[in-house]
């Protein structure tokens, strides 16, 4: 937001007919980049909902995965399957 709005905006979705330069009487349509972005966001939301429903994602995933409460944190009972999760190496310090 460093520059002031372009005063001579013309073309898709700005309310000005690019051919004639006259004001449109009807509201402008959403530009293509907005429509494409909306579709992409919709797909991502759908994926997130599917992941949540299948238990692969969500706020309770971490606590449930380690089987520990915040009051007393124990060693996870089993290796956690997550993005880039480490595998246990005999539980030893290195």
């Amino acid at each position: 937001m460093t520059d002031p709005p372009r005063s001579n905006e013309a073309g898709e979705g700005v309310g000005v007919d690019p051919d004639r330069g006259s004001r449109r009487s009807e509201p402008p349509r959403a530009p293509r980049w907005v429509k494409v972005s909306a579709v992409v966001v919709g797909v991502l939301i759908l994926l997130a909902v599917i992941l949540m429903l299948t238990g692969g994602h969500g706020p309770g995933r971490h606590a449930g995965a380690t089987g520990a409460s915040t009051a007393a944190v124990d060693v996870p009972a089993s290796p956690v399957s997550g993005p880039g999760a480490n595998q246990a190496r005999d539980g030893s310090y290195r």
Binding site: P5, E9, V73
Partner: protein, 177 residues
């Protein structure tokens, strides 16, 4: 409400500083997150989770909230407005979404830091890579929107533009001299 040029520059500078700071803090967090899930050294993993919590609580969250708040003030105080142009509206939605997920994720990060500190082998913890990479992507998108400012006026913006044009044409000419 339009701000004076001097005030506008102050607000804009603060907005850019907080937004870029948010992006930088997320990058630092991502480096620690990758370390936490890839390192085989228990002490390194433990330290990474502890540092992740500190960065989230004392850098990312304050910067994110400041960025959203100051960005809103900046938009409302300039002719761009908050709901008049699609790029401003999309940017607002992205930053509010990112800040909301961040606030929800804060509890998880604190939990992971606590678990890493007390568990025998913190290498089994899952990390938060999905969220940190997702957050970084969203912030980069907002930077792209801010720089390129793709065209497109919303219906609300179109009505406001028409109102302003009508006001200009009906206003009596100012006599000079």
């Amino acid at each position: 409400m339009t701000m004076s040029p001097r005030l506008r520059k102050v607000v804009l500078t603060t907005h850019v500083a907080t937004s870029v700071g948010w992006l930088g803090a997320v990058l630092a967090y991502l480096a620690l997150d990758i370390t936490a899930v890839t390192s085989q050294n228990v002490q390194t993993v433990r330290g990474a989770y502890a540092a992740m919590e500190v960065i989230v609580l004392y850098a990312i969250v304050p910067l994110a909230l400041a960025s959203v708040l100051i960005g809103t003030v900046n938009a409302l105080g300039t002719p761009w407005g908050l709901f008049r142009h699609y790029w401003v509206l999309v940017k607002l939605l992205l930053t509010v979404f990112a800040a909301t997920i961040l606030l929800l994720e804060t509890q998880t990060v604190s939990y992971l830091a606590q678990a890493a500190a007390s568990s025998a082998d913190p290498r089994e913890l899952p990390g938060t890579l999905l969220h940190s990479v997702g957050g970084l992507v969203v912030l980069i998108l907002t930077v792209i929107l801010s720089v390129f400012k793709p065209q497109g006026v919303t219906r609300y913006g179109w009505r406001k533009q028409n109102e302003q044009r009508r006001n200009k044409t009906t206003r009596p000419p100012v006599l000079l001299g």
